[in-house]
Each structure stands twice: as C-alpha cells, then as structure tokens.
Amino acid sequence: MTKQEYTITVYTENQIGLLNRIAIIFSRRKINVESLNTSPSEVDSVHRFTIVINETEDVVRKLCRQIEKQVEVLKAYYNTNEEIVWQELALYKVPTDIIAEEVKVERLLRQYGAKAVVIRKDYTVFEVAGHREETDTLIKVLEPYGLIEFVRSARVAIIKNSDGFHKKLKSFEYKEPGEEVVENEYLSENEKVFSM
C-alpha cells in the first residue's frame, strides 16, 4: 500500500485535554501531522477536528479506530483528497513599494486570486485561500520581491458525500440506539470510508 494524503475529520465533545489525547495517538506512533485544525461544527456544542496526514490507508484506518476509542470522541472519518472539498488560508507580507513599482507583481497577485487585507505605506498583507500547491507557488513567486512574512493555516475540509452530523448525533443521545443506526456498519465497509 502506498502513502497518500488523508484528511481525518473527528467530531468530538468540547473538552479540555482532548486535543492532547488525539495528538498523542499520532506522536506515539511517530506519525507526522501535516496540519491540524479545531473548530466548531455544524452542530452546536460538537467540535470538529480536521487532521491531515500522509500515510497508507491501513495506518489511517487504525488511527481512526484509536481516535474513536477516546471517550469524548463521537466519530472519526477519513477521506482522500478526491472525497473532500478543502482549503487552506495563506497570508503574505510584502513591501508596498515593490508592489507599487513592479507592475508584474500586481499582475501575479491578481492571477493567484490574492486579496489585499492590509495596505500600509511600508508593507501590504495579501491573503490567498486555496490548495497547498497554489499557496506554495505564490511563495516562490514572491520571494524574489522580498517576502517579509508568510503563514498558512491548517486545512479545513468538507466531506463531499456527508449529510452532516445532525442526524448522526441523535443516535448518540440514546442509550440504546435505534435500528436505523447500525453502529457496526464499518465492519462491512472494511475497505471503504471508515465509519463506525
């Protein structure tokens, strides 16, 4: 099995310490986390982690099971890049005079869909939302013109074929889940998207 980028989406309770509990699942196995984002989810009071790693599917599946095993984790899904819509946000700080003088730079920024967030006499901050390759290329492009600062956010991702968590959550509320919620479903989807 070959390694590729997987995005893990974890729905959790909002609990101090859970971030650590999840993070050490990766560090214990010496697995590098490419990006990690925590945010609210579509459901009030439910937290959503988005974690990107580069691993084989077998490893990712096992990691998801370890994550779901944590008491405060509701659910963990993993997806390939084809199965999600995703974005990262990048900020670039460049000297204002260069942009003003070099027409080329302005054109380039436009080409990459950069938006000016702050314009000051001494510097300008641009923002680009996109995939890693896009934001990466713009670094290369801007470097010769004196890129002062660069930062990129973690990935956030939407799962294309997900119905969201509202309905799923209902099944967690009851002690005995109803017939429509077959928790054991993942066993029959051993090779597919992880969902317990």
Binding site: T12, E13, I16, G17, V71, L74, E173, P177, M196
Partner: protein, 582 residues
C-alpha cells in the same frame, strides 16, 4: 443493601444538603458499592482524608507503603473480584508514583479509579509545591481522566469515572481534584449512577450476519482452533465460552491473561499460548484451518513473528474493542461485540462436533513437551530444586482452588505454565506491561477482593525487592497472603536471554538479596527458607495452614531455564523445547 436502594436513599436523605467536595467523593464511593480504598495521604488530598476520618466505618482504607503499591493492590482487587479498584493519592510525587500501575492497568484492561489530590486551582501552572501536570502525564495511560476544580462537578464526574472504568473494555481512570474543590461546600443534589455518555459506546449492537458468517466458517472447518484471552473473564462469559467450545468440540488454548477462564484440566483446554506457552498450541496455530480468537488482542508475545503467524488460517476475531480488530492480524470475519452476547449466538449456530484426530495432534505435541520440558521440570533427577516442582506441590495442596498472583520473570512463566485452576479470576499477573514488583501489592489487593480464598504470591528475588516495602502493609492490616519467593540469585529471565542470545555474557543480572526471612520477621511475618526437596512440601503446608501471612523462600537452581520458548523474532512454529534447539 443493593445499589439502587442505596442510591435512592442517598438521594432523598441529602436532597438539600450542603456538603464539601471531599464528602461528596466518599458518598460517591459508597453509592458505587466501594468498600476498600488503597491509598496514601499527602498535602493536596488532606481534605478527603479528613472526611474519611468520619467514614471509617463505611469505607476501609488500606494504607500502603508506596503509591505504586496502592494501584497494584487495586488492580489485584479488581482482577480477582471483577469489580473496580479504588486508589487515593496526593498530588505531585503521589500521583507520579501511580504511573506504572496506570500503564499496567491500561494494557491489561483493569478497571481502576484513582483519585488524586491537586494543588488549589489558582495555583495550577505556577510550579506550586507538589504540583505536577497529572492529567497530561497520565493521558496516554488512562482510558479517561479529568481534572475537577469545582465541587459541583464531583458527583457527576465520579459517576462517569466508574461507568467508564468498568464498562466496555475496562481500564484505569484518573480524577484529579484540586484542593479548593475538596474543601468547597456545595449543594449536593444526590448521586446518580452514570449509564450513558453520548460520545462513548462501550459495546455495539451485535450484527447477526457476522455471527452467521463466523458459524459457517466454523462449521466448514476441519481443524478449527480457539484461542482466548482475558475478554472472556472481563465479559463474565466463562459459562458461555465453555458452552461454545463444548458444543463445537473445538480445542481451546488460553493467553496468559485468559488463563483460568476455563478449568485448566478441561478436556478441550490444550494449554497456554505464547513465548513460553505450550508446544502444541504454538505449533498447531500454524496448522489449523480456522482460528477463532475470543477476547484477545494478538500481542506479539502470543503471535511471535506476524508474517509467520497462522498464514494458512481463516481468522475469526470476537472482540469488544473495534480498535483491536485487524490491528495485528487481518481477520476473515470480525465479530465486534461483548462476547457474553456474541458467544451464545454463535453457539446456537455451530454444529455439535468432535475432532478426535485434530485433538490427538495436541496430545502428541504434549507428549513431546512432557518428555523434554515438563518431566525434567517437575521431577528433576538431581537435588537442585526447580520452580516447577514448587508449583506442582502447590497444585496438590490447594487442589486448584487458590488465587495465584505472580510477579514477572521466569517464575511467572513457570507458575503460569504449571499452575492448575478450577475457578475463573484465579491467575493474577502483569501480562501486557510485565511489571516487576506487581505481585506483592496485587496479592494484598486480591485478598481484599476475595478474602475467603487462599492467595498465593509467587515472586522472584528481583521483583520482591521492587515492592518489598508492602510487607509493612501486611504487618499493619493483616491480610492473609502467602508469599513464595523463588530465589535463583539472578534476575533469572534476563540471565536466560543473556545465556541464550548474548553468548553467556551475564551483564548485571547477579542480584544480591537480603535475608528475606529475617526481613519478613522484622515486619512481624513468619517465614522460612527451604533449600532441600524433602522440606518443601512441609514448608508449603505450613504456609497454607497459617492463619496469618507467611513467607517461604525456596532456593532454586541458579541457571535453570524456562522452556519451551519462541525466541524473539521467530514464528510460533519455530518454538524450541530446549537449549540445544536455540
């Protein structure tokens, strides 16, 4: 009084009461039917100990001599009784002393609730006296942990703690309570047991189609083989398991943790798996056509080299923890669920069968092992005492009724290989972590978990010195614990490896011991040392007949080895029966 009644009573009697967080902790324990606490006081847990002063008629507190002793005792208590063990410890060093036991309880799925004191909430993160980040230190070795800074949380959090520790795949829980929360008065609205946490599903709904698939594989099998672990005991499914193997007629071998779930002399019981397990179960793992794993996790000490493990077999795995399924061994059919529920369903669908030829293979293997390993161990032809003959005499004296608690090393393997058991929950040992120092405190805890059963701790001369201070606990609280030290004057298991795999280079394994009998005497515990065969039975009888704890030291052969053995890095079928084969 049953729990429900008690809970109700607690509720009505205290509906509008203002109590301290500390009292709330103790009320929670009482509501959870806790009778015994193993602990050690200190600054940050003083309010709880102060409250305990008024509760000593309802809660027994065993003052250990080191917090590691407290948690191992709680583990021994839990393992022998099937109930959750409870520990009190103070902040900082008190809490960090628990870490080894937490790791042990985590890997061996033992239900324990540890309550640790913590500095005042306003001092958190200031490097206050005896402040350590207990939550983060214990996160990797707990099933759940939580820090309480407000007394109002205590009833609810403790209810969760007991629910989580004891349900699903059990494990240790740490509740860290800041001193202000222990002192705080709050309106106690009663204690309600926790029965549901929405993000936590201790066991799934059983899917029948997997049971059907499993049954079909079993019914078509010619050489099926059952291997089982502690899951059978933790699931309290011993009867269900026995029915399953008896109807299906399938030979069954236990892991070290599954041992005693069925009587050791059960006609279908073919012995122990693993590195020092029996020859047949290891070799025939690689000859069966369907391997049925029940409540076990394919630890590397059981599987040996994975790429040489049961490659020919279709694998059925019954487990309550989905993270174990397909973790080490890829299954053909996985039955996720509580084996108390899944086994009867499976039993219903399997055909009544016998496999005389297949079973004969196990017997043939046993004969081979008998000649090369068992006979020389149990009936040696020279005057050097062996560990095996000690166990053999114990078997005859206790008739399989004792609880045997072992430490870690050669004596552990020998005890587990040769001890006979009639009852479940009788073999208490540190399986997953291999924690030296486990046995003495665990045996103390086991006594409180099963005060009417003979408790025998079997310990090496090395391990005894790791928690020897718990003799003080025995002196003070007088649990009846039989202590056997199998003294080979070496860190035996490490010496064995150095002999076999490091060209006999004995590097720091010649450990010196104190006069154990004298040490015991210092603690007011009777004992004697035995170095002759004809004294052995007498000494062990004396020990077992003594109403108080008693220590027997047996001087055994210095350089005896434990065989069979699956050398590290080899497949189970490459198990060796003696030094000449290594």
């Amino acid at each position: 009084m049953d729990t429900l009644e008690l809970t109700k009573k607690e509720k009505t009697a205290t509906a509008t009461e203002n109590i301290s967080g500390s009292v709330a902790v103790l009320r929670a324990l009482i509501a959870e039917n806790v009778e015994t606490i193993f602990g050690y006081p200190g600054g940050a847990i003083m309010p709880i100990y102060d409250a305990l002063y008024d509760y000593h008629d309802k809660l027994k507190h065993i003052l250990v001599r080191h917090e590691q002793g407290a948690i191992h005792a709680a583990q021994g208590f839990a393992r022998v009784s099937g109930r959750t063990g409870v520990v009190f410890a103070t902040s900082g060093p008190g809490a960090t002393n628990l870490v080894t036991g937490l790791a042990d309880a985590m890997i061996d799925s033992t239900p324990v609730v540890c309550i640790t004191g913590q500095v005042f909430a306003h001092l958190l993160g200031t490097d206050a006296f005896q402040e350590t980040d207990v939550i983060n230190i214990t996160t990797p070795v707990t099933k759940w942990n939580y820090q309480v800074t407000d007394a109002n949380e205590i009833p609810h959090v403790l209810a969760k703690a007991f629910y989580i520790a004891g349900s699903g795949r059990p494990g240790p829980v740490v509740i860290d309570i800041t001193k202000n929360a222990q002192l705080q008065l709050f309106e106690f609205k009663g204690y309600e047991k926790c029965e549901h946490i929405r993000s936590y599903r201790p066991k799934p709904i059983v899917r029948k189609e997997y049971i059907e698939k499993a049954a079909q594989l079993i019914n078509e099998a010619e050489r099926p083989f059952v291997i089982f672990g502690q899951g059978v005991i933790l699931g309290k499914a011993e009867k269900e398991f026995q029915k399953f193997i008896e109807k299906s007629g399938i030979p069954a071998a236990w892991t070290i943790m599954g041992m005693s779930a069925i009587p050791t002399d059960h006609p279908l019981g073919v012995g122990m798996l693993g590195m020092h397990g029996n020859y047949g179960p290891n070799v025939l793992t690689n000859e069966c056509d369907v391997l049925i794993a029940v409540g076990m996790r394919f630890d590397d000490r059981v599987t040996g080299r994975l790429d040489k493990y049961a490659k020919q077999a279709k694998v059925i795995h019954l487990d309550i923890d989905p993270a174990e399924i397909d973790k080490n061994v890829k299954t053909t059919v996985s039955v996720w669920g509580d084996c108390k529920e899944t086994l009867p369903l499976l039993t219903e669908l399997v055909e009544q069968k016998v496999y005389p030829q297949w079973l004969q293979k196990f017997k043939d293997c046993m004969e081979k092992e008998e000649v090369k390993c068992i006979k020389p161990e149990l009936t040696p032809n020279n005057e050097v005492l062996t560990m095996g003959e000690v166990i053999d005499i114990l078997n005859r004296l206790t008739k399989g009724e004792a609880v045997i608690v072992t430490d870690v090393g050669q004596h552990q393997m020998v005890a587990c290989r040769y001890a006979k058991y009639n009852n479940s929950k009788s073999n208490i040992t540190s399986g997953g972590l291999g924690t030296m120092g486990y046995a003495l405190p665990a045996a103390i805890g086991a006594y409180y978990g099963a005060p009417d059963r003979p408790i025998i701790a079997i310990i090496g001369d090395g391990g005894m010195q790791m928690t020897i201070q718990e003799l003080g606990t025995i002196m003070q609280f007088k649990p009846n614990v039989n202590i056997i030290i199998l003294n080979n004057n070496f860190l035996g298991m490490v010496r064995q490896w150095q002999e076999l795999f490091h060209q006999h280079r004995y590097s720091f394994v010649d450990i010196q011991s104190p006069d154990f009998v004298q040490v015991a005497k210092g603690y007011g515990i009777e004992g004697r040392s035995v170095c002759k065969r004809d004294e052995l039975k007498n000494a062990l009888s004396e020990m077992l007949n003594s109403k108080d704890s008693y220590l027997v030291e047996v001087m055994v052969g210095k350089e005896n080895n434990v065989f069979p053995m699956v050398p590290q890095g080899r497949g189970v079928a490459e198990i060796v029966l003696g030094k000449d084969e290594v």
